[in-house]
C-alpha cells in the first residue's frame, strides 16, 4: 500500500504530474489534455528505465499513465475555468 502511495506521490511531483498539468493547460479539449498527460505518463517510466521497455515495471507504468491523465485533465479544467476567450 505504502509502495503504491509512494509511487503516486512520486509521479505527481514528477513529469506526469507537473508536465501533464502544464500540457493540459495548453488546450480546452479535455480528451487532448488527458491524452497529452497520458503520453507523458508513458514517457517518464521509459526515461527512468533507460529507454528499455522491458525494464519498465507494469505497476509504475500504469500509475504514471493514470496520474498523467488526471493531471492533464485537471490542466484542461483549469484552462476552461480560468480564461474567458
Amino acid at each position: 500500500m505504502l509502495e503504491i502511495l509512494g509511487t503516486i506521490g512520486g509521479n505527481i511531483l514528477s513529469l506526469p504530474g507537473i508536465l501533464g498539468l502544464a500540457l493540459g493547460m495548453m488546450t480546452r479539449k479535455l480528451w487532448l489534455g488527458a491524452a497529452l498527460g497520458g503520453a507523458v505518463g508513458v514517457f517518464e517510466p521509459l526515461v527512468f528505465a533507460g529507454f528499455r521497455f522491458a525494464h519498465v515495471e507494469p505497476l509504475d507504468l500504469i500509475i504514471a499513465v493514470v496520474v498523467g491523465v488526471c493531471a492533464g485533465s485537471l490542466g484542461t479544467a483549469i484552462r476552461i475555468k480560468g480564461a474567458t476567450a
Partner: protein, 230 residues
C-alpha cells in the same frame, strides 16, 4: 442565482479572485511573476527535501541511536580517505522519482517513532530481521542502485584489490550478482538467521532458486569481510 460579491465571505471572494481572468496585470507580468514564484517554490522545496537527507535529520529520532552506533563502527563512517557515506547515500535514491517515493514511504518511520515500535533495545532486536529484510528486498530489486552511486564494477581496479576480493568481484560480474548478495550487514549488525531470510528475499525477487548457489558460496566472502574488518 449566485451571491453578489458583497455577500460573499473571505473565502468566496478569494476563490472568485483566483478564477477571474486578470484585468490588472499584463500577460508578460503574469508569466514573469509565475516564473520567479516557480523558481522560489521549487528551490525552497528542493532545499527542504535535501535537509531531510542530512545525517543530523536522520538520527534526530531516538530510535535511530542503535543503528547509528553500529554504522559508526564501519568503514563507511570512518576510513583512511575521510570520504563518508551517510544514511541517505545508502537509503535514499538519487533519481527524482525514486527519491520522492522513498520520502513518502519514510512517513512510516515517523509513525513507528511515535508508536515506539523499536523504542527499546529488546524491541529493536525483535524487529531487526524484518527491518533488514525490507532493506535487502529494496536493494536486491534495484540491483543495489544506491551502492552503485559510489561503487561501479567498470571502474574497479582488480589489480589493487586483495586477491580474494578481486576474484569474488570478477565472479559477481560473470554470474550477474549484485552488491547486496554478499555485502549484507556492511553498515549495521546482522540479525540471527539472516542468511535464511536473505535467501527468501532473493528467491522471492528472482522467482527461482538461482540464489542458492550465490548464498552458499557467499559464506566465504562474508567470513573474509568480517575477518578483514577486525
Amino acid at each position: 442565482m449566485a451571491d453578489s460579491p458583497e455577500k460573499r465571505g473571505l473565502l468566496g471572494r478569494l476563490w472568485n479572485a483566483i478564477w477571474t481572468p486578470a484585468v490588472m496585470f499584463s500577460s508578460g507580468f503574469l508569466i514573469l511573476a509565475g516564473f520567479l514564484a516557480g523558481i522560489l517554490f521549487w528551490g525552497g522545496f528542493h532545499w527542504t527535501l535535501e535537509l531531510t537527507n542530512t545525517e543530523e535529520f536522520c538520527v534526530s529520532c531516538h530510535t535511530m541511536e542503535t543503528n547509528l552506533g553500529e554504522y559508526r563502527e564501519t568503514i563507511h563512517y570512518n576510513n583512511r580517505s575521510g570520504s563518508r557515506a551517510i544514511c541517505s547515500d545508502c537509503h535514499v535514491p538519487d533519481e527524482w522519482n525514486h527519491k520522492i517515493k522513498a520520502k513518502i514511504m519514510a512517513v512510516k518511520d515517523v509513525y513507528h517513532e511515535l508508536a515506539g515500535t523499536i523504542s527499546t533495545p529488546e524491541k529493536y532486536e525483535d524487529h531487526r530481521l524484518a527491518m533488514a529484510s525490507a532493506v535487502w528486498k529494496k536493494m536486491k530489486a534495484s540491483d543495489s542502485r544506491e551502492c552503485r552511486n559510489c561503487h561501479n564494477f567498470d571502474y574497479m581496479d582488480f589489480t589493487v584489490q586483495e586477491t580474494r576480493a578481486a576474484s569474488e568481484h570478477q565472479r559477481a560480474i560473470d554470474s550477474g550478482m549484485t552488491c547486496i548478495d554478499c555485502h549484507q550487514g556492511i553498515a549495521h549488525s546482522l540479525p540471527p538467521n539472516y542468511l535464511e531470510e536473505y535467501q527468501k528475499v532473493s528467491e522471492a525477487i528472482e522467482g527461482e532458486v538461482l540464489q542458492e548457489h550465490a548464498a552458499a558460496t557467499g559464506d566465504d566472502i562474508r567470513d573474509f569481510l568480517n575477518n578483514s574488518s577486525k
